[in-house]
């Protein structure tokens, strides 16, 4: 699942996911009918508007063994919110479809560690990196330290702890514009912590959170780049990941 944000704004994340999964011997398909899981609508209170999106998602991913999502919050929405939307639609077929999709849907680090059983994916990324665990991966999916275990196994990486790592960055979907001032106050504290680590790259498993913190890091001219977890894991010594490739 590319996610709408990954598809339209941050193609680096799903492209790196494709490259990484292929390298690990996974037969990757990208169903072209997919669009958006509907999370932005659900989390803003627009359940009716989310119904067609849930329907599209369920039908696009019917029949695959596993659905891999490079986003904790989108995977969380599929697993924890689609049922509510389907109930609202009053459509038993959709309820069934959602019930089939949920258990087959994995956030990237869950798929790598739990399904493929790897923590060393053969990646190489010789840079100073700090990792922000995103809220929905942490507290909705409970991915725990899986992303960190994956990062620790990366060759050449200088992984530094992020102070206050588990505190929300302040993105919060439409919160970022509905409560822009509070969102920015939270994000500025996160950005300050990131800069304090001396890291070149801030890594996270959600492009949305990176868009927010990265937007602050850019505006404040900190020189810190943001990268999705998939991009770091996709990078190897022979074939380093360059974001310019997706420009």
């Amino acid at each position: 699942m590319a996610t709408c944000l990954g598809d339209a704004m941050f193609p680096e994340a799903p492209r790196a996911t494709v490259r990484l999964l292929r390298r690990l011997g996974v037969d990757v398909e990208v169903p072209e009918a997919q669009t958006c899981c509907g999370q932005p609508m659900v989390n803003t209170g627009y359940l009716d508007e989310a119904v067609p999106l849930v329907r599209t998602t369920v039908s696009a991913f019917e029949g695959f063994d596993a659905v891999v999502v490079p986003s904790g919050s989108c995977a969380g929405s599929v697993r924890h919110q689609h049922g509510i939307v389907a109930e609202r639609a009053g459509d038993p077929a959709l309820v069934d479809g959602v019930a089939r999709l949920g258990p087959r849907t994995y956030e990237l680090s869950e798929f790598l560690v739990d399904v493929l059983g790897v923590t060393d994916v053969g990646a190489s990324f010789p840079h100073r990196v700090t990792y922000h665990p995103t809220c929905h991966s942490l507290r909705m999916l409970r991915v725990g330290d899986r992303p960190l275990r994956l990062l620790e196994a990366v060759r050449g990486i200088d992984l530094v702890d992020l102070p206050g790592a588990e505190e929300c960055c302040g993105f919060g979907g439409t919160f970022a514009v509905k409560n822009a001032d509070t969102s920015v106050a939270m994000g500025s504290d996160k950005a300050r912590h990131v800069v304090g680590t001396g890291a070149e790259v801030l890594v996270a498993g959600d492009a949305s959170c990176l868009m927010h913190v990265g937007g602050l890091l850019s505006r404040q001219r900190t020189g810190v780049r943001t990268m999705h977890l998939a991009e770091v894991l996709a990078s190897t010594a022979d074939d380093p990941w360059t974001q310019e490739a997706t420009r």
Binding site: T35, L216, R219
Partner: protein
């Protein structure tokens, strides 16, 4: 005296004002950080913490499912022990009962135990209108009352004040309320507490009537329970002749065995203590000992409305420990006043809309959106209220309440337009292609994909770009890349 939250602006506006107060942010970050650490230590001591919480949640759910029966049992037990039970549908009913009792005894001054229910109904202000002075005796509530301020936290209502501010309030305001603060008062915490003790001692010894709330009401015996730290509650509950307790109907627990669970959970989750210093329990009237006239006001004030929502009624499990406030990154930055209610923070963001209903007041309707849905509140709740889940549920209720409005909001139109575009892969692909054009026009560096940054957007977009850059859209969407053979060698570049 007697400021209220009436007329407060909606959260986003109130939050902006609060965020500009750097002293407030420092006070809050320091105080919530301290309580968080203390609580984490106290909770970690118990191996069966989560199990206790699950049991407590089950007790509350079971009780709420048959609330009518438990309340009648409570009323019977209370009456049998000499208490007078009053049923109050709303704030006005409850305030009238308290004022009536005072008037019948010719009382114009009452002492108060810290109580959320009486704050909720605006009792002090209602009594003041009748010429009855209600004195708060909890230290933090005293600070708020003397400062003509509003509470900003459930457990520590003066959390937004530091000790220098408190000294100034005591110096300038205490004299008008009774015994003045000493002239040489410093901001040493012990000195501040000593000044408050002397001031309050006069109130305890002269008051003939006390008003309290209750943390719990045990139905099987008609026993009310107040949990506190300072001993002011014990003074109020034992010294005056007349005692009126205003108790939310969700405070009932069926048995003492049930109560046991909550007395283990509450202190650790609220103040981070194994046991709170004072737990007072009283059952009606005990002849010759303590208050000889005891009234209990059972307060609805929107609780049955909340109860009617089968999913969101879990909010009525709340034991007002305020752990969710202390872990909330939004609360930590804006403080309690921005929520416009005596119940701030994550629990306030769900309990206020539930008690008052949505779709009528923009201030109330904004509250479920005053959260990033980060989930820290739900994780820390000792009675397992799924606060993020209820927040989303209430957002849906807010949107649904406005679906029949004749003029849809700009937000609703934007969401519908987005949902339409995203509803079909071909429409989305066209939108992506159009956006990709911008990437061709402007080049830059520094953002993901080596793309340039957008630093200014008009209209609602400015809410993003006010402080944050946004990358230019990629020239090629993921979808387009995949379509031209993504991931195969020729498609990689």
């Amino acid at each position: 005296m007697g400021r209220t939250f009436v007329g407060m602006p909606p959260f986003p506006v109130a939050a902006r004002t609060a965020l500009a107060d750097s002293q407030l942010r420092r006070n809050l970050a320091h105080a919530t950080g301290t309580i968080r650490g203390k609580r984490a230590g106290a909770v970690a001591e118990l191996e069966d913490w989560e199990d206790l919480g699950a049991q407590a949640a089950a007790v509350k759910d079971r009780t709420l499912a048959h609330l009518d029966e438990h309340l009648v049992a409570l009323e019977e037990a209370l009456s049998a022990r000499g208490a007078t039970v009053h049923w109050a549908r709303d704030a006005a009913d409850a305030c009238a009962v308290v004022a009536d009792v005072a008037r019948r005894h010719g009382i114009d001054e009452v002492v108060k135990v810290k109580s959320m229910a009486t704050q909720e109904i605006g009792l002090n202000e209602a009594l003041a209108e009748q010429g009855i002075a209600a004195w708060e005796t909890d230290l933090a509530e005293l600070i708020v009352q003397l400062g003509d301020d509003l509470p900003s936290h459930i457990l520590v209502p003066a959390i937004h004040r530091n000790r220098a501010e408190i000294r100034d309030i005591f110096r300038t305001r205490m004299a008008a309320a009774g015994r003045p603060a000493p002239d040489d008062l410093t901001d040493d915490p012990a000195a501040l507490a000593a000044a408050a003790r002397l001031h309050l001692r006069e109130k305890f010894l002269s008051a003939r009537m006390a008003v309290s709330g209750a943390n719990f009401a045990v139905a099987e015996t008609g026993t009310l329970v107040v949990v506190e730290s300072e001993g002011n509650g014990r003074m109020c509950l034992t010294l005056p002749d007349v005692l009126v307790s205003v108790v939310g109907i969700e405070k009932v627990v069926p048995t003492w065995r049930d109560l046991d669970l909550f007395l283990r959970l509450l202190p650790r989750s609220s103040t981070g203590e194994r046991m709170n210093p004072y737990t007072s329990m009283w059952t009606g009237v005990t002849p010759g000992d303590g208050p000889q006239e005891v009234h209990v006001v059972l307060l609805d004030n929107g609780r049955t409305r909340a109860l009617a929502d089968e999913y969101a009624r879990q909010a009525l499990r709340c034991i007002r420990c305020s752990a969710c406030l202390n872990v909330c990154p939004v609360y930590e930055r804006v403080g309690g006043h921005a929520y416009g209610s005596v119940y701030p923070g994550p629990i306030g963001a769900i309990i206020n809309p539930l008690l008052r209903g949505v779709g009528q007041d923009p201030q109330v309707d904004a509250l479920p959106y005053a959260s990033t849905l980060c989930g820290a509140c739900g994780d820390v709740c000792p009675v397992a209220i799924d606060i993020p889940g209820v927040l989303v549920h209430l957002r849906t209720a807010v949107v649904d309440a406005h679906r029949s409005d004749t003029r849809p909001t700009a937000e609703a139109l934007a969401v519908r337009a987005a949902a339409w575009t995203l509803g079909d892969a071909r429409r989305l692909a066209l939108a992506e292609k159009a956006a990709g054009g911008a990437g061709r026009v402007r080049r830059g560096r520094g953002m993901p994909g080596g793309r340039g940054a957008v630093s200014w957007l008009p209209f609602a977009g400015s809410r993003w770009t006010g402080a944050r850059d946004l990358p230019l859209p990629p020239r090629e969407s993921f979808r387009a890349w995949w379509r031209r053979g993504g991931g195969t060698e020729e498609g990689r570049r």
